[in-house]
Each structure stands twice: as structure tokens, then as C-alpha cells.
């Protein structure tokens, strides 16, 4: 070892280019992150008899519990059950982008250290795993919506909504992965933040007109991201302003993610 210095070394321009190229290669390696993501979810339940069915059962139990308390949160909504079955998984998706995104690179340390595959694969893999989890949670929605008869033609609107959340998810993983490796308190902080936002965002409570116009909802980015997916799921049209704001949030997150990832990439391995 030699020559201690106290300044972070400057990063050469071609290194930035390499990092950007690496993200593209990672996004295109769908076969790798797709299988790894499914494996992540299966691995979580490897030693259980019910396996990933636990995800679906847990969700059903949670929805049933909240439904029993429906008079507190949604006295007037006749389709509260569908609302919950659409809302909770979608919230879970958004929250896992933030929480798992912060841990995505730290968790993959062993593989990052051992194999020269594009590091961003581990970020994309965590986003894909969130969707695999989401698919398990949506099973409850399908059952409930069929039972309540709330499946509507507006459901097609869910596709662009999911695309927006996907852009947000990839952006969040690229942004929070390197930051979470550099700053170890980001993981716990984001888990705490997600818990707080779960209560503040209209996830399990149905907002009235007055609440929608309150700053807590109006300036809450998660509200817009949630709404673009949830509204079509419960048979409602998404307001154009909500589309616009959600898209802008997703694009801003992706831009921030690209900037942070490209700048931090060369140093991240050392901080893992």
C-alpha cells in the first residue's frame, strides 16, 4: 500500500461512458435478470412447504383484516374490497422499488466481487423481482375483482401505468443502489420512510375530495405513481394531470438514477 491522499480521485470521461454502456448491456440481458429475479423470490421461501404461496396468503390476510375495519377508512365505498386488493399490491411494488433498490447492490456483493458481469444487472434484477412479487399479490385482486364484478374496460389503462412505474423502478434502483452501498443508513432509512408513506398516502384509506386537495396528497409523488396503476384496476379513468405528473416523476427519477449510477459506478465496488 502506498501514497495516501484525502481526495476522491477524479473519474475519467471514458469511465463514465463505460458505465452508461454497462447499464444498456444490463437492461438487454433480460434472460439473466429474469431468471435471477424469479430465483430471488423462490429462494426467499425455499425452506417452506407453501413456498411463494405465502406471499399470496399474507396479502389475502392483510386485505381481509383491513376490510373488517372498513367503517374507519371507507364508510361510503361499496367496492372497498377491490380498492384494497388493487391498492395494497401496487403500494408494495412502489415501496419495494425504494427499499430493495437501496439494498440491491449491497445484497449482491458476493456476485459483484466474483464475476465481471455488468453490475447494473443486480439493480434491474431487484426491479424484476419486485414485479414477480407483484404478480403473486395480484392473484388476490383477480379473485376479488371477479367476485365483486368490478373488472371494467378501463383496465386497459393499467398497461401504460405499469410502464410508468417500471421507468420509476429502474430509475430508483440505479439511484438508490450505489447510494445505499455508499451510505449504509439509507437502507434502514428508506424502510422507515416507506412505512411512514404507507400511512400518509391514500393506500388503504379512500381519500375524499377535500383530502385529495390537501398538500399531503397533492405533493406526495407516491400518490401519482400509485394512482396511475390503481385507478384502472378499480375501473376508473386516470385524470390527465395524474398521467402527466406520474410520467414526470418517473422520468426525473430515471435521469437522477442514470447520473448517480454513472458517476458512482467506479467507486461503488470499494464501498460494498
Amino acid at each position: 500500500m502506498t501514497a495516501h491522499s484525502t481526495r476522491a480521485p477524479a473519474v475519467a470521461a471514458h469511465t463514465l461512458q463505460n458505465s452508461l454502456h454497462e447499464i444498456l448491456r444490463a437492461l438487454m440481458s433480460w434472460r439473466i435478470w429474469g431468471i435471477a429475479a424469479m430465483d430471488d423470490i423462490a429462494g426467499r421461501y425455499r425452506r417452506t412447504i407453501l413456498g411463494p404461496l405465502w406471499i399470496t396468503l399474507g396479502q389475502a390476510g392483510f386485505i381481509a383484516g383491513l376490510y373488517l375495519l372498513r367503517e374507519k377508512f371507507a364508510a361510503s365505498n361499496p367496492h372497498y374490497l377491490t380498492y384494497l386488493a388493487a391498492s395494497l399490491p401496487t403500494w408494495g411494488l412502489l415501496a419495494s422499488f425504494v427499499v430493495d433498490g437501496s439494498n440491491s447492490l449491497v445484497k449482491a456483493k458476493g456476485f459483484i466481487d466474483a464475476y465481471p458481469i455488468p453490475m447494473a444487472i443486480h439493480s434491474v434484477r431487484s426491479v424484476a423481482a419486485s414485479y414477480v412479487n407483484y404478480a403473486h399479490l395480484l392473484v388476490v385482486y383477480v379473485v376479488v375483482a371477479a367476485f365483486e364484478g368490478t373488472i371494467h374496460v378501463a383496465l386497459v389503462g393499467v398497461a401504460p401505468g405499469l410502464l410508468i412505474t417500471m421507468v420509476f423502478g429502474v430509475g430508483a434502483a440505479l439511484l438508490l443502489g450505489p447510494l445505499g452501498a455508499r451510505f449504509r443508513d439509507l437502507g434502514p432509512a428508506s424502510a422507515m420512510g416507506a412505512g411512514l408513506m404507507f400511512v400518509l398516502t391514500p393506500v388503504f384509506w379512500v381519500p375524499g375530495r377535500q383530502q385529495i386537495e390537501s398538500p399531503l396528497v397533492m405533493y406526495n409523488p407516491f400518490y401519482y405513481l400509485l394512482e396511475v396503476v390503481r385507478a384502472p384496476l378499480i375501473g376508473e379513468a386516470v385524470a390527465p394531470l395524474v398521467w402527466l405528473i406520474a410520467s414526470l416523476i418517473a422520468l426525473a427519477t430515471l435521469t437522477a438514477g442514470l447520473i448517480v449510477y454513472v458517476r458512482m459506478r467506479p467507486q461503488v465496488v470499494y464501498w460494498l
Binding site: 502506498t2 491522499s5 435471477a36 466474483a114 465481471p116 458481469i117 467506479p266 470499494y270 464501498w271
Partner: protein, 254 residues
Amino acid sequence: MASLELRNVRAAYPVIVSASQRSAFAAAASSMSFGRLGGGSSTTQYVLAVNGVSLHLRHGQRLGLMGRNGSGKSTLLRLMAGIIQPTAGERHVVGSVGCVLGGFGLDSDRTGLQNMKLIARLHGLNGPALKGAVDDAVEFCELGPYLELPVRTYSSGMLGRLSYAMATANQADIMLIDEGIGAGDNKFIDKAVRRAKQICSHSGISVVASHSDHILRGFSDIGLWIDAGEVKSIGPIDDVIAAYTKFLQSIGEI
């Protein structure tokens, strides 16, 4: 034709000593108070692990890295692999890279066989190519029934066998091997050497880092002695080992 070139590369890594260096809140407090609060992330020290190394390996060349602990061997291997990006200088690689570096990158709860499949998939193999690579590794590592046991039950020698078998089964053009291979027994090391020579005869490149003369001579025809992140000597393996041994004697380490 495989080629591996480093041009004046440097790698500097941060020395992490306190939790406040890794805290987002401490960093925010520090920048908002102009460094008076939060311990100041600007106090992080950086160590130059590799400083201005240039080399160009061409097809068929087998390099052996030697140097004392902390001299930069592993960092240099990780730079070659592309796991670390150089903070200065350039790296140019033609050909695919397979490596057996520290840590092995195995999932300890999975069986040896499941890990082999996972590694093959992470490298983008599937279908018959995946099956071929796994079959080849199974045969080469000679772990037999142990392949059905979780990897956490393996000894370090067995882990080394598994990783080496998988890394070479991928038919990579460039093989990078850290000193973990030294945990293998002599019979396995001889087998590993034959394999590395075979890869190099198909216009590949191999680089091995080790403290053992036996391993260095077996694997390599060129030697590189690195000290304090800088190249001390590069040339025919026997000459470099002799120079390095002389240096160790002069400072009383052997």
C-alpha cells in the same frame, strides 16, 4: 485472438474506519455545516492499491503475479477482470473473461450443482450450452456426491475446485485466478495447470496470483512482481521469481 492490455492504470480505494463515513445523515450534516458537523466525509482517506501499471498480454501468454500481502495483486486481478474500473488509465480487453477470485460468489444455501447452474446462467448461458458447461465442470471438479450438498458444508479446497471448474468450463478466453487455488491439493493443482495450459494453447491468456513457487512455475511463463502497487519486475517467470526471492531474503522475510 485474446488480448488484455492495461495502460498506466491506477486504482484508489477509500479506507473506511468509522460508521459516520458511511452515513448519509452525517454527510448531509457535514455539507450543510461546511464540515463542522458529522465528522466530515471529506476526511476519508484513499489508498492507491495499484499505481501506474501498464502491461499487454497477448494470446497464449500465461502470467504469474507475485508480491507481498497488500502489494496489489488481487486489486490488479480485479482490474483486469473489469470488476473494478480504473480510476485513471485504460483497460482494453478482447475476448471473454472467466475468473476465480476471492469470495467465489456462491450461494451457501444451494447445493454445488445448483450453484453451478446459477453461475452459468449469470454468465448468460442457457439450453445445451448451459448443460454442457455444467457437465464439464461436474466431471472436472471430481466432487461427486458432494455436489448434492449445500455449499456451506464445503471446505475451502472444495470451494476452490468448484469455482475453478465452473470458471474454466465457460470456455473463457482469459482466465484470472487468485491465490484461493492454493487451497487445492497438489493433484488438483496439477490438473488445474493442465487445464490452464490447454486454454492458453487455444489462443487464450491466463493470469494467476500466488505465493507458491510451485503454482507460479506451473501456471506461468511470464512473471510480474508487484510491490506497493507498482511493477518491480516483469519478464521470464524464473528470473522474476529469483529477483523476488532475493528481495525477500534481503529484507529478512525468508
